[in-house]
Each structure stands twice: as C-alpha cells, then as structure tokens.
C-alpha cells in the first residue's frame, strides 16, 4: 500500500492528464509480416513525453531516454500494451530490437519471431490508455493479403489482424 501511495505522489508531479489545446494523444504502430523471416516486424511511433510518463508508472521512478533501465522498462510497457494472439489464443512473444529518440518522438522496435502466417491472428494495442482517457492507437498491418488499418480506443477488444 505504501508503494502505491508513492506512485500517486510521483504521477501528480508530472505532466497534466488533461488535454492541452494542441496536445493529441495518438500513437502509430506498423506491423509488417516478413514471410522470409517468419516474423512480425513491429515499429511503434510514440510521443516521447507520453512514453516517459508510462515508464515512470512502470518503474515507479522518472527515467529518461539513455538512462540505465529505460529500454527494459519500455519493453515492459510495450509487452503489457501490445498483445498479438495466435488463432488458438496463445499470445506471441515480443522481443526487443531497440529504440530511437527523435526529439519529441520515440521509435520503438520489437519483433515477434516464429509467426509463419498471419491467418487467425488477433491483436490489441492499449498503450498509454491507462494514462490518457483520449488516447487513440492506430495500428497499420501489412501482410501478403495487403494493408489494413485498425484503431484502438478505450474499452476496445481484440481485432482480427
């Protein structure tokens, strides 16, 4: 219980939860199925300040890009938020590739190995929804069948790949 209180104090010290006039809570994730590698190649474009907030919530302390433990915390945030399920309901494992920081945007790269086909896959992206009620997550998927766009808002369930 004590630990939870510490988290609350920290969060109120960070950026406001309410929408600023020109702040939009949007993330964009691109998932390409690489047939040759039998993997999903996943690229997430996240606002760097939103990601730092999520990392602070994950670890209980403020961390910024480049500090020890930041990458591991980002992977934990991503693994919790982005879920891809096989046809039988088992989640695929997301492994770390890396991240790039571009001033206000952070690009996060993760990979799901051993995905020979996208048939029957379902997915859900809830990143930052716990922080911002207005959060919208766009997911662009591309495989042999073509390109499709999915969008996730609060309360949305899994959608077919």
């Amino acid at each position: 219980m004590r630990r939870w209180l510490a988290v609350v104090v920290l969060l109120t010290g960070l950026a406001p939860v309410a929408a600023d006039a020109h702040k939009f809570y949007v993330s964009l994730t691109t998932i390409d199925h690489n047939v040759g590698e039998q993997s999903l190649e996943i690229t997430m474009r996240l606002f760097a300040d939103d990601l730092e907030r999520a990392v602070a919530r994950e670890t209980g302390k403020p961390l910024t890009h480049g500090q020890p433990g930041f990458d591991a915390a980002v992977l934990a945030v991503v693994q919790r938020a982005l879920t891809v399920r096989q046809a039988d309901g088992r989640p695929v494992t997301l492994t770390w590739v890396g991240l790039e920081n571009k001033v206000d945007v952070t690009w996060v790269y993760v990979e799901a190995p051993k995905v020979p086909s996208t048939a029957g896959l379902t997915l859900r992206d809830t990143i930052f929804m716990d922080l911002f009620p207005d959060q919208v997550n766009m997911v662009h998927v591309k495989d042999a069948r073509g390109r499709r766009a999915l969008d996730f808002r609060g309360g949305d369930s899994f959608k077919p790949f």
Partner: protein, 698 residues
Amino acid sequence: MTYYNQSPDPLTYLWLQLDQNLFRKDSDTALTAPAPSLERPTFETLDTLVNRDFDGGFQIASVTNATGKPLPHTIVKTMMRIDLPAPLAPGKSVVFGVAWSYNINDAKRLGGRSGYEFFPKDGNYIYEIAQWFPRLAAYNDVSGWQHKQFLGSGEFTLEFGNYKVRITAPNDHVVGATGVLQNPQAVLSPTQLQRLEQAKTASAPVLVVTPAEAKAAEAGKPTGTKTWVFHAENVRDFAFASSRKFIWDAQGHRSGAQPVLAMSYYPNEGNPLWAQYSTAAIIHTLNLYSRYSFDYPYPIAISVNGPVGGMEYPMICFNGPRPEPDGTYSARTKYALISVVIHEVGHNYFPMIVNTDERQWTWMDEGINSFLQFLAEQEWEDNYPSRRGEPKNMVEYMVAPGHDPIMTNSESVKELGNNAYGKPATALNILRETVMGRELFDFAFREYSRRWKFKRPMPADFFRTMEDASAIDLDWFWHGWFYTTDHTDLSLDDVRHYTLDTKNPETEKTLQRQQQTAAPTTLSAERYRDTPKLVEQNPALADFYNRFDPLAVTPADREEYQKVLGTLTDKEKALIGANKNFYVMRFSNVGGLVMPIILKLDYVDGSSEELRIPAEIWRRDASRVSKLVITDKVLAQVTLDPKLETADTDLSNNFFPRKPVMTRFQLFKQQQQTTPNPMQQLERKPGTDAPRPQGPGL
C-alpha cells in the same frame, strides 16, 4: 456592449457564446465523452472521473437594455439568444448589458483553454483567463449566425470589435492582456515604467519585473487591489493573464510602420528557457509571418507561461513548456517551447486577423498556421526538428485506410493533429515547393492574406485566391488533398529503350550480333557445346548453310542501303544519324492522389539530370500514363521522387530497374547489427545504456 449590425439583414435576435458552459456537469461535452479505458487507471484519472465536483459554467444574473430594463433571453447549452424589442435594421446599433460570473477551472486537473494553476511550493496561482465573457457569435454572408455548439475541439470564430476592459487584481499581481495598458502610471512603479520605456528601443529583452522581484512577490501578501485598464481595437477577442509570480520582459520591434512591444510573462519556474527564448521567438514569428502575409497590425504581442499547453488569443497567447525543477531541460522541451510560441503567436495572423472559422474548419487556421510555423522553424536554425511540414512525415497517416478528409467538421475528425494540422501543412509545403514553386506560391499566398485580412474567408476563398493570383489550375490538388483520403503512390512500372533502325547494314548487323552474343545460353546448349558433332567429324555432310553467316554484311546489303539513302533528304539523314535513345516510361497511380512526376535520370556515363513533369500529365487518365524521354546518353537508372517531396507512401515501385527498399524497421535492425558510428559513440554518455544488438534480457 454596443452591437453594430453591419449585415444587409434586419436582426430580430442576437446570439452570444457561453463557452464556459462546456464545464457544466450536464454539458454535451460531458455527456458525450467516450468511455475511457479502465485497465490500470491512474489515481489521477480516477480522481477526475469520480470527483466530478467542479461547479463550472456561466451564471447569467441579468441581460438588460441601455436603460437597465431586462431583455428576454434563452440559454441553449453554450449559446444564448437575446430577443430584441424591435428588429435591428442594417447599419443600426443596439446597446445591452450582461451581468455574469463563473468559477475558474483548475486547468492542470480539468484541462481547458484557460484556467488557473496552483503552485503548492509557494501557495500562489497563475491565472490564464480566456473565453471568459459572453462573446458575440459571428453573423456571416454564408451561413447566417455561426452558433454551432462549443464541444471543445472546434475553437471559435468571432466578430471584430473594440474593447475597453478594467481588470481589478490584488496589488502585487502583474497583469498582461490583449490591448494597450491605458494607466501605466497607476499600476507600475517608476522603475518599471522606466524599464518599459527603455525596452521599446532595446535590442534584447529588458526585464520590467526581474526574477528576484517576482520571487519577493511570491513570498509577500497583497495590501489592496489595483485596477489595470486596457484598450484594444479591431480584435476578435480579449484574454488576459494575472499572477504575482510573473517575471515580465519586453522588447520593442517594428512591423512595417507599426511599432510593436513583444513581451513575455513567466514564473521563475519557466527559467532558464523563457528568458532566453520566448520574446526572441515572438519577434522571429512577427518577422517571418509578416514577410509571408502582411505587417502585424497590433501594438502588442505577448507570450505567457502557465497551465495551458498552447492557446491563442489576439495579441496574447498561453504556452506551457517549462524546464525541469532542477533547471535542466531536454532538447524536446526547448524545441517544444520555441515551436509553440511560434505557433500561438502566429495565430495572430490566422485566424485572429484573417478571421477563419475554427468551429467549422479547423484546418483553415491550424493547417495554414502549422505551414507557416514550419517555415519559421526552418529559418530558426539548421535542421530544426519540425514535427510537421516535411512530406515524408505524413506518409504513415495518409496511407492508412479509414481516416477523414481534411474538409471535415472540427468536432468529427478522428485524428485532429494529423488531419487539421499535419496534412494541410504538408499539402501547402508541397504546393509551394513542388507544384507552384516558391515565387508563385508566395505571391498568391500574400494576396490571400491581404484580401481576407479582417474578413471572413471560407475554404473556397482560399482555393480560389491561390488560383486567381497564380494562373495555376489547382482544382485537382484541392480535390485530392482536401476532399479525399487518397494518398500518393506513383509507380514507375517500366522503361523501354528504343533506338532508330538506321538501315545501315554495318550498324544494324553489328547490333544484332551483340544482342545474340548477349542472349543467355540455354542449359542444354551449354552442356552439348563440347560434345563431338557428326558434321564436324564428317565434312561431307556440310553444305552452304553450315558456312553461311546471316549477320555478315554482303555487297547486296550495301547496295540496298545506298538505294535507301538516295531517297532521303539531308534533314532526314541527319535525324537518322543523330543516334538518339528513346525511352518510353509507363507510370501507374496506385494511391489515387494525382501528383507531379519528379524523375532523376542517371546515365551510364555517371552524369544525371532531373525531369519535372506537371500533374497535368494525369488529366486524360488519372490511373495510367506514359512519357517519352529522348536522350543522347544511355540511361542506367530512373528514380521517381528522388528528394521525397511528394509524400509517396511506397518507394519500392519508384526505381527502374527495381531496387530493394528496406522498411524503417529493417533499416534500424541492420544498423543495430553493425558497429555504432563515431557520432553514436561520442554522444553516448558514461553509464548509459549502450546500443545492443540483442534485447535487455527480459
């Protein structure tokens, strides 16, 4: 208020906007908010959901005529109708008064475009006050009253007017507002007056209230009140900010004939960033926007730091970014501050002066303003990290199925940031750089700004003026970029190489022999090559055909050629002898958006040239076109959109011959697997995560 009916219509009632009613518990905004995610909500989210205790919205005490008699009025959500005793004829005016009050929202907790911020450390507040009085709705030629309800996204449009405002505040507060301070002697100390005077001709910001003076005020208590009087002319709104925490700096500037005082108000928490960048960014914005539109017509331009992230009002705007409490700041915070000051000060031009209607068309001010913001950022420093403007940054949004056309009402847009800011800013940048060229675009854009200054343009007025002043038919451009969700994906499908048949047997038969030699040998032919052949072992079986070389030039061939030459004129002989290469290029439009075809032609001799084909090439068939290119040199490679200027979403079909194009993911992964370059090694600080080829081991 005195309301002048400048319209040609008699008005039987007036509509006023009650923006604060957005904060009522029964507002449409509150009732129609989508359900948030309830997975792991923060306590902050829970607090705003559960403790909906803020009693917001206007209390209208009375609406009266000039003699104090009540006027009938009806409140409809965020609008109020005042019924006039007699129709107000064109050219006539009516005087009325409204007595009102409202509770100020905690902008840090509840959001909003104005409100207060509390500083627990010293117990003080910053107030940023806007949309704070019943404001006249606009009455226009196109739709009559603009009284679409305020739901939170579509900001507003208003009428121009003259304001006289008296603000009474605790006597240790500093107040900044739309308009010129009328009673400086009554509210400023002699030292402050002298500093303000000095600022008018200074070449750097002069502190009117110093950080130390602001700190001292934070620790003190007011001993009474002061009334600040402001006048503002020809503005569509009036906003102000007030706090004892304010540092205040000012620097004189001149926009054409208009002297301007650029000023910033910020707490000590805003430094070091604010002292260095805010007023400098105001002046940079005035310089740049005036160059592309018109001279800034107001005497004041203010940037205030407080709880609001970024919001514009005439002569004054609110900007959020601040350094960390320890005084350090990230590059992100620095550029966020410079960018937001440029953006919000820039809004003085669009829509505070060119009075577009953001309640209906967000892109007309946010998109146009984001475009000019990009130009201002690019002139701030080399490689400024602009978020919006570069075509390649808009590719992911535009390629996604299911987004909204730009021409969508402000409240019904799915991704307002990309839709109303990013995409129109990108479209205008492409229009300027790729379609019209800088000179024609800049001339037409200045004409649009000049023509609609202090007037109320609709989208068609913008489209029409850009064509009117340039003689460039842009119907295809407005259609594709503003009314559809098509994206750019042009494909260079193939390139065929032709040369002239010269009829000269020496040339043509040599060429045929080269082609034969270059043709692949089949597997069987290759395997039989060294097998002993019967005819070689038994020459009696050989005849004429075994010795005949069909590609050898015969005297008959030469005779025939001389005969053909004899029938040709000298001009025809020269044409054949010019030795030109003919390339037929075929293109298809995969994404649907019509765009110019920009080609880079690389020749086998190592030289290259650019070929720019206007979008009119698509006018007969918007899905498939061909183009003939005639050259002296032989092509090695053709590249479509080599400088990434058209937001082409799929580069893999932009090369002939085809080249593999890696995705961002593949590029990153490949780079990770090679050793870090010297810059990466230098920029890595001791004790930080090194780039790793593998994961962090989770």
